[in-house]
Symmetry: C2
Subunit: 195 residues, 2 copies
């Protein structure tokens, strides 16, 4: 049985996106700086790319919120980077959408528990990656459905935007650090969520 892992890049001021998020500006103003660590080389290595790819190697399915899908479906294009089944939590039923390279978007209307059950069945022994957005990750945390939280702490400030941890009561989140990877532009923190 795999783990359920939420994965998110945030700024030092705790933001997972800049202001003015909309279709065409999916990370908000300045938000692309949250992801620059993925493309920066260190001394002959690319720790960032290793960290970025690791989750996709161990995961067999993805869960995301409808808003993240709406913002991402266009930029991700005809051969999305997931290469596995993606379950989209939504209020609006629609037919599955198959893309090239193994990605199929399936729309699940029964809430996060229902999407997670579908994702676990699809993932088999592999992990389930909960990729966002912030609101969906918060729902998973509040419902006690996450095993692990991976934070890519980008060494930037955004000043304003979406706060990953807003509206969570601190008592809901009891974290144990299990790994820290320092890489150019970001520090990668892995937490086990204690229940």
């Amino acid at each position: 049985m795999g783990k359920v892992i939420a994965d998110q890049s945030i700024s030092l001021d705790g933001l997972s996106a800049g202001p003015n998020v909309r279709v065409g500006n999916p990370l908000g103003d300045g938000g692309q700086r949250l992801h620059e660590w993925m493309y920066r080389d260190g001394d002959g290595t690319n720790r960032g790319a290793e960290v970025r790819d690791e989750l996709f190697r161990t995961s067999g399915a993805v869960v995301m919120g409808r808003r993240m899908f709406d913002l991402g479906v266009e930029p991700w294009g005809n051969n999305p980077p997931f290469h596995m089944p993606v379950f989209v939590v939504t209020h609006d039923a629609s037919d599955p959408l198959a893309k090239e390279g193994g990605t199929t978007y399936t729309f699940v209307t029964g809430g996060i528990e229902s999407a997670l059950a579908r994702a676990k069945a699809a993932a088999g022994d592999k992990d389930v990656a909960v990729l966002g957005g912030a609101n969906t990750i918060r729902q998973f945390i509040a419902a006690g459905l996450l095993d692990e939280l991976r934070i890519h702490l980008a060494h930037v400030l955004l000043g304003d935007g979406t706060r990953l941890f807003d509206h969570l009561s601190p008592e809901q989140v009891n974290l144990e650090s299990t790994r820290v990877v320092d890489a150019p532009g970001a520090t990668h923190l892995t937490f086990r969520i204690l229940r």
Copy 2:
């Protein structure tokens, strides 16, 4: 010539204190969790205590804001933990206050530049530690007066309180990570501030 170093513990959600900060509740509700890392042992080591003591070893003077002084002077007591000159940025002139163990509180009314000049003169070749609060650290960042920012990222959420990085424009803060120390309960991040 020493460095000017700001040092602050924050939560994963970017807070340097909980809500309801006042005399008698200097870290705000739940805020003592930001400092628990100082007292936690690892496997036979106490990395937290080493990190906590390091700044005081290399520093020859402290700068703090008046509010931090007002909140702290009582709990710090007759033998405060600084053991060096402390320059308090304030609007109200008062006579210096000498305590046991080498700590003297000197009240400086000329703003942060003036307090820093006094602290540098007192520190000689050693560093100057800017210990807070958040508002004072932000003033130092905005004025381009800091060489280094040390963040003790406690592995907790506070939910609400004082945001260390509020009201800073992101363009004012260009950070280069120079050291990461992982210790029980917190990840210690050192940034050089690029100008």
